[in-house]
C-alpha cells in the first residue's frame, strides 16, 4: 500500500504541513513546551503520566491482564461443566483448598468457588475489561487525537481515572486470596444473598472487597467520563463541528454521557447495600430467616436493589457496545475505502440507542416479581431498540457494498463484529419479549445471547481497534499473519462456544448450575455438547494467547511504521508524528475542513479532513 501511493502520500504530507502552518490553530504550543520538562524520567513518562496516550495504553494493558484472568477463570468452570468427572487435582497448586481431593485422589472443584469464579469472571469482564479496557483505552487514545486537542480537558483527573481503576483492580485481585473466597453471588450481586454473610461464604469479606473495588471503579469511570464529555465539547480544533466528528468520537462521547448519568445510580445502590451489610439498615432486607436465625429486618425490598443495579446495568451494556460500534464504523469505512453509509443515520441511531438505554432496564426483571403491568412498557421500549440497531447493521453492510475491501486483521474483526452483533442482537428480540422470557429467563439462552452480542462482539470491536491503532500507540505494526490466525480461529471458535448454548437454553437448562443440570432429568442430556463447548473454549483461549504474544512481541519487535498515515485514513490522528510526544502535534493543530469520510471521492482514494473543500464541493457531514 505504502509503496503504491508513495508519491501521493509524500505530496499529501507536504500539503498537510503547509495547510497546518497556514490555516491550523496556533496555540503557541511550541513556545511553551521545549523538551517537555515535566516528563524527564521513566516514572513520570510511563507510570504517573498525564498524557492521554500513555493513560490509554495503561488502561489497555490492565484490561488485557484482566481479560486473561477472566478467561482462565472461565476455563476452570468450563472444565467443571464439560468434564464433571475429570480429576482437577492438578489445579491444586493454584487453587489450593478450593480443589477438594477425595479419598480416591480425585480432585473436585468446590461449588462455592465455582460460583466465585462465575461471579468474578462476570464482574471483571463487564467492568474491568469491556468498560475500562475498551472505552478507557480508546476514548483516551482517540478523543484528543481525532478532534485535534493537545490532551484531555483535565489530564490530571484523567490520570486519577486510571489510578482509581488500578486501585479497584488491586482490591478485586486481593479478594481472590481471602480464606472465605471472593464474592460468589453473581456479578449482579443481588441481595439478600450479597447482603448476608450467613447465606454464603463469599458474601463475607469477599463481598466487602467487591463493593470497595466497585466503588473505586465507579469513581474511575466518572472521572474518565466527565473528562471525555468536556473534552469533546470544548477542545475540538478549528472547523471540527459536531457533524464532522468521526463516528468513533460520537460513540465515545455518547458513551461517556450514558456513563456519567448511570454509574452514580449503581454507586448509590452498592452503598445502600454496604449499609445493609454493616450498619443494620433494611433497604433491601425484609422478613428473613437465614441459617435458623430470625433477622430483625423489615420493610426493605430486594427489588429496589435490582432497579438501582439495572438502571446502570442496562445502560452499561451500551457503554460496552457503543465504543465498539464506533470503532467498527471507522475501521470498516477506512478499509472499505468508502464513506460510512448513512453517517447521519449512524449518529442518530447512536442517540436513539442511548436514549432508549435508560428506559429499558426492567427487562432484566420480568420474572423478578415486579408488577406484570409495568413490564408492558419495558417490552415496548426494549423491542424498539431493535430498530436503531437494525439501521446500524444495514448501514455497515451497505458500507461494504461497492467497496474496495482491504482484508487485514482490523477490518476482519470489524466484519466479524457485524456478524456477531446480528446473531446476538436477534436473540435479544426473543428475550425482550416478556412472554418468551418466562421460559428463557436465566437459562443458557441468555448466556448465549449476551456473550455473543456484548461479550464477543465488544471484544471484536476492541481487537479491531487494537490492530487499527497499534501503529499509533507503539509506532509499529502487529504481525498480520498471527492477526489473521487470531481472527479466523476466534470467529469460528467463539461461535462454536456460544451457539450451542442456544439449544441448551431452549431446553430450559438454567444458568449458574454447578453440575450443569446433571441432577435434573430435564436438563442432563447435553453431556457431549458441554464437552464440545469446553474444548472449543480451550482452543479459543489459546488463540487469545497468540494475540497477547503478538501484542507484546510487536511492541518491541514489530514492523516499524515508516509513514505517518499507513491506512490512508482521513482522521487527524494520522497527521501526528509517528511517535507523537505529549501535546500530539509539534506545531499548530491542523484545522478541519470537511467530514471524516471522503474516501473514493472524485477519483481520489482518500481526502483527509484537513484538506479544504474545493469550490462548490459539498461537505457530506451536513
Amino acid at each position: 500500500m505504502a509503496e503504491m501511493t508513495k508519491v501521493a502520500v509524500d505530496s499529501l504530507d507536504t500539503l498537510e504541513e503547509k495547510l497546518t502552518r497556514e490555516m491550523g490553530y496556533d496555540d503557541h504550543f511550541h513556545e511553551h513546551h521545549h523538551g517537555d520538562k515535566y516528563q524527564s524520567n521513566f516514572l513520570t513518562t510511563y507510570i504517573f503520566s498525564t498524557d492521554h496516550k500513555i493513560i490509554g495504553r495503561q488502561f489497555l494493558i490492565t484490561g488485557i491482564f484482566w481479560a486473561l484472568m477472566g478467561a482462565m477463570m472461565s476455563l476452570v468452570f468450563r472444565l467443571q461443566l464439560g468434564f464433571p468427572e475429570a480429576d482437577l487435582a492438578w489445579l491444586k497448586p493454584v487453587l489450593g483448598k478450593w480443589i477438594q481431593v477425595n479419598d480416591a485422589g480425585i480432585g473436585k472443584l468446590d461449588p462455592e468457588f465455582y460460583y466465585a469464579l462465575v461471579t468474578i469472571h462476570g464482574t471483571v469482564l463487564v467492568f474491568f475489561v469491556l468498560t475500562a479496557g475498551l472505552s478507557g483505552t480508546f476514548s483516551n487514545l482517540l478523543i484528543p487525537l481525532q478532534i485535534g486537542a493537545r490532551d484531555m480537558a483535565s489530564p490530571l483527573l484523567n490520570a486519577f481515572s486510571y489510578w482509581f481503576f488500578f486501585l479497584a483492580s488491586v482490591v478485586m485481585f486481593l479478594s481472590l486470596f481471602l480464606s472465605t473466597g471472593p464474592f460468589s453471588g453473581g456479578w449482579t450481586a443481588y441481595p439478600p444473598l450479597s447482603a448476608l454473610p450467613q447465606a454464603s461464604e463469599g458474601s463475607g469479606a469477599g463481598m466487602t472487597m467487591w463493593i470497595v473495588a466497585m466503588a473505586f471503579f465507579i469513581v474511575s469511570a466518572l472521572l474518565g467520563g466527565i473528562n471525555y464529555v468536556t473534552t469533546v465539547l470544548n477542545l475540538r480544533t478549528k472547523g471540527m463541528n459536531l457533524w464532522r466528528m468521526p463516528l468513533t468520537i460520537w460513540a465515545f462521547f455518547i458513551t461517556a454521557i450514558i456513563g456519567v448519568l448511570s454509574f452514580p445510580v449503581l454507586l448509590s445502590g452498592v452503598l445502600l447495600l454496604m449499609f445493609d451489610r454493616s450498619m443494620g439498615t433494611s433497604f433491601y432486607l425484609s422478613e428473613i430467616v437465614v441459617g435458623g436465625q430470625i433477622l430483625d429486618r423489615i420493610g426493605g425490598s430486594p427489588i429496589l436493589y435490582q432497579h438501582l443495579f439495572w438502571f446502570l446495568g442496562h445502560p452499561e451494556v451500551y457503554i460496552i457496545i457503543l465504543p465498539a460500534m464506533g470503532i467498527v464504523s471507522e475501521v470498516l469505512s477506512v478499509h472499505a475505502r468508502k464513506p460510512i453509509f448513512g453517517y447521519r443515520a449512524m449518529v442518530l441511531s447512536i442517540l436513539a440507542i442511548a436514549f432508549l438505554s435508560f428506559i429499558v432496564w426492567a427487562h432484566h426483571m420480568f420474572m423478578a416479581g415486579v408488577n406484570p403491568f409495568i413490564s408492558n412498557f419495558f417490552v415496548v421500549f426494549t423491542l424498539i431498540i431493535a430498530v436503531p440497531s437494525a439501521v446500524k447493521v444495514f448501514n455497515w453492510i451497505s458500507t461494504v457494498y461497492g467497496s474496495n475491501f482491504r482484508f487485514n486483521s482490523a477490518s476482519l474483526f470489524a466484519l466479524g463484529f457485524v456478524s456477531l452483533f446480528i446473531s446476538g442482537g436477534l436473540t435479544g428480540i426473543f428475550l425482550g419479549n416478556s412472554a418468551i422470557d418466562v421460559q428463557l429467563h436465566d437459562t443458557y439462552f441468555v448466556v448465549a445471547h449476551f456473550h455473543i452480542v456484548m461479550g464477543v462482539a465488544a471484544f471484536f470491536g476492541m481487537f479491531a481497534g487494537i490492530y487499527q491503532w497499534f501503529p499509533k500507540m507503539f509506532g509499529r505494526f502487529m504481525n498480520e499473519t498471527l492477526g489473521k490466525i487470531h481472527f479466523w480461529g476466534t470467529m469460528i471458535g467463539a461461535y462454536a462456544v456460544f451457539w450451542p448454548m442456544h439449544y441448551t437454553g431452549m431446553a430450559g437448562v438454567p444458568r449458574r448450575y454447578y453440575d450443569g443440570g446433571a441432577s435434573f432429568d430435564s436438563f442432563r442430556h447435553f453431556t457431549e455438547l458441554n464437552q464440545f463447548i469446553t474444548v472449543a473454549a480451550i482452543i479459543v483461549f489459546f488463540l487469545q494467547v497468540v494475540f497477547v504474544v503478538n501484542f507484546f512481541y510487536s511492541i518491541f519487535n514489530g514492523r516499524k511504521m515508516t509513514t505517518k498515515n499507513p491506512w490512508g485514513a482521513n482522521t487527524l490522528e494520522w497527521t501526528t508524528p509517528i511517535n507523537p510526544g505529549h501535546g500530539n502535534w509539534p506545531g499548530n493543530i491542523p484545522a478541519v475542513q470537511r467530514w471524516a469520510y471522503d474516501y473514493g471521492k472524485g477519483g481520489q482514494e482518500y481526502v483527509p479532513q484537513y484538506v479544504p473543500l474545493r469550490e462548490g464541493e459539498h461537505d457530506h457531514g451536513h
Binding site: M367, N376, V379, V391, F405, T481, Y503
Partner: protein, 380 residues
C-alpha cells in the same frame, strides 16, 4: 506428567506459529507489498465466503439435529394451558429473526467477497440514501410492532391473577437454602397465615397456628401432586435469599422474594402419564434411563415433571429439585386425602402449640368425658 506434556505441546505450537508468522513476514518483504495484498485479499475473501457457507450449514444442521429442543416442537412442548402461547410466540420470533439472520449474513460476507480489494478497483462513493434509511427503519418497526402486540397479548393473559369466583387450587412454595417447602391448603382450601418471626426448627415456614386455616394445611415432603386441567395458583415465598420457582415443562418461572410474596397461575393440561406417552414417540427417549443399566427402564418411562431454582441462591443453587406428578382429579383426591395435616401430626399438643390444652373442632372425637364442653374456634 500429561499436564506437562500438554503444556510442552502448546508451547511448541506457539513457537511454530510465531516462526510461521516471521517467515511470512520475511517472504512478504521479498515478494513486495502489492503481491502480498493481492494474495491476502484473495485468501481472506475466499475464507469469508467459506465461513458464510460453513456457518449457515452448521446453523441449519445443528438446528435440525436439536430440533427436539426447540420450544413447541416434538417432546419439548408445553404441558400447561398458557405454555402454547409462549411456544408459538417463540416460533413466530424465530421465523422473523431467522429470515433477517440469513439475509444479513449472506449480504455481509458476499459483499466482502465480491468487493475484495483489487488494484484496479475503485470503491464507489456512496455516502447515504435517505430512502433506504427510511425503508429499513420502517420495516423493522412494523415487524417489532407485530411482535410486541402478540407478545403483550400473551403476557397479560399469562400473568393475570385468578378472579374471585374462579375454581382453582392454591398452593404455596417457599424457597430456602437449598430446598423447597411446599404447602397445600388442606380440606378448607385456604392457606393459613404465617409470620416469619414464628419460624422454628419444627415450624419451618412460620405458620401461625392460632389461625384455624393453618390447622388442616399440609406440608408435602415427597412428590407433589396436581390435578390435570385445574387452575393452580402458586404463592411463591422466599425465606432467606432470592429463589426462583421454575417448572420448565409448564413454562412457569417466578422469583421468590423475601418479604414480598409473588404468584404464578397456570393450568397443567397433560398428566405425567400422558407426557410420558408423548415422549415415547421419540427415539432419544428409548435410551436407557440409567446408561449403566441398558436393560433397565427407558427414559420416557422414568420421566417426571421437575421443579428447579432459577435464581442464584448460593452454593447449593443447582440442587433444589422437587418432583411434580400431574394426575387425574380422582387420583389427586385420593392422594390428597392421605396427606396428614402438618399441625395435627407434628405440632398439636407439643410445647410449641399455641392451642395446647384447648380442644379444637378438628381434634379427633375425644373419649375423655372431662374435656371442656366449649370448642375453640378462634380464627385470625
Amino acid at each position: 506428567m500429561t499436564a506437562l506434556l500438554i503444556l510442552l505441546c502448546i508451547i511448541l505450537v506457539g513457537i511454530v506459529l510465531v516462526q510461521i508468522a516471521r517467515v511470512v513476514e520475511l517472504t512478504a518483504q521479498i515478494k513486495g507489498e502489492r503481491e502480498v495484498m493481492r494474495e491476502s485479499s484473495w485468501w481472506n475473501a475466499v475464507l469469508s465466503l467459506g465461513f458464510l457457507v460453513v456457518f449457515l450449514a452448521a446453523v441449519f444442521i445443528s438446528s435440525y439435529y436439536y430440533k427436539n429442543e426447540l420450544l413447541g416442537y416434538g417432546p419439548h412442548s408445553a404441558a400447561s394451558e398458557h405454555g402454547g402461547a409462549i411456544d408459538s410466540m417463540f416460533n413466530v420470533t424465530l421465523f422473523f429473526t431467522g429470515i433477517v439472520f440469513v439475509i444479513t449474513h449472506i449480504a455481509l460476507f458476499w459483499f466482502a467477497f465480491k468487493y475484495r480489494w483489487r488494484e484496479d478497483r475503485q470503491a464507489s462513493f456512496i455516502s447515504h440514501d435517505d430512502r433506504l434509511e427510511i425503508i429499513w427503519t420502517a420495516v423493522p418497526a412494523v415487524v417489532m410492532t407485530l411482535l410486541v402486540v402478540r407478545g403483550l397479548d400473551a403476557w397479560n393473559t399469562i400473568m393475570a391473577d385468578v378472579s374471585e369466583n374462579e375454581d382453582y387450587i392454591e398452593i404455596e412454595a417457599t424457597g430456602q437454602q437449598f430446598n423447597w417447602i411446599i404447602r397445600y391448603p388442606g380440606p378448607d382450601g385456604k392457606l393459613g397465615a404465617r409470620d416469619y418471626r414464628l419460624t422454628t426448627a419444627t415450624n419451618q415456614i412460620g405458620q401461625d397456628f392460632r389461625d384455624r386455616k393453618n390447622w388442616d394445611d399440609v406440608i408435602v415432603s415427597q412428590e407433589l401432586y396436581l390435578p390435570v386441567n385445574k387452575k393452580v395458583r402458586v404463592r411463591i415465598i422466599a425465606k432467606d435469599v432470592l429463589h426462583n420457582f421454575y417448572l420448565p415443562q409448564f413454562r412457569v418461572k417466578m422469583d421468590a422474594v423475601p418479604g414480598m410474596p409473588t404468584y404464578f397461575v397456570f393450568t397443567p393440561i397433560k398428566t405425567t402419564a400422558e407426557y410420558r406417552n408423548e415422549l415415547r414417540k421419540y427415539p432419544e427417549y428409548h435410551q436407557p434411563y440409567d446408561p449403566t443399566d441398558p436393560q433397565g427402564p427407558k427414559r420416557w418411562e422414568k420421566f417426571e415433571y421437575e421443579l428447579a431454582c432459577a435464581e442464584l441462591c448460593g452454593k447449593g443453587h443447582y440442587s433444589m429439585k422437587r418432583i411434580i406428578r400431574v394426575v387425574s382429579q380422582e387420583e389427586f383426591d385420593a392422594w390428597y386425602k392421605q396427606q396428614e395435616s402438618y399441625y395435627m401430626s407434628q405440632i398439636r399438643g407439643k410445647d410449641e402449640d399455641p392451642n395446647k390444652g384447648k380442644v379444637l373442632d378438628i381434634d379427633p372425637p375425644a373419649s375423655d368425658a372431662n374435656a371442656p364442653a366449649k370448642t375453640e374456634t378462634t380464627s385470625l
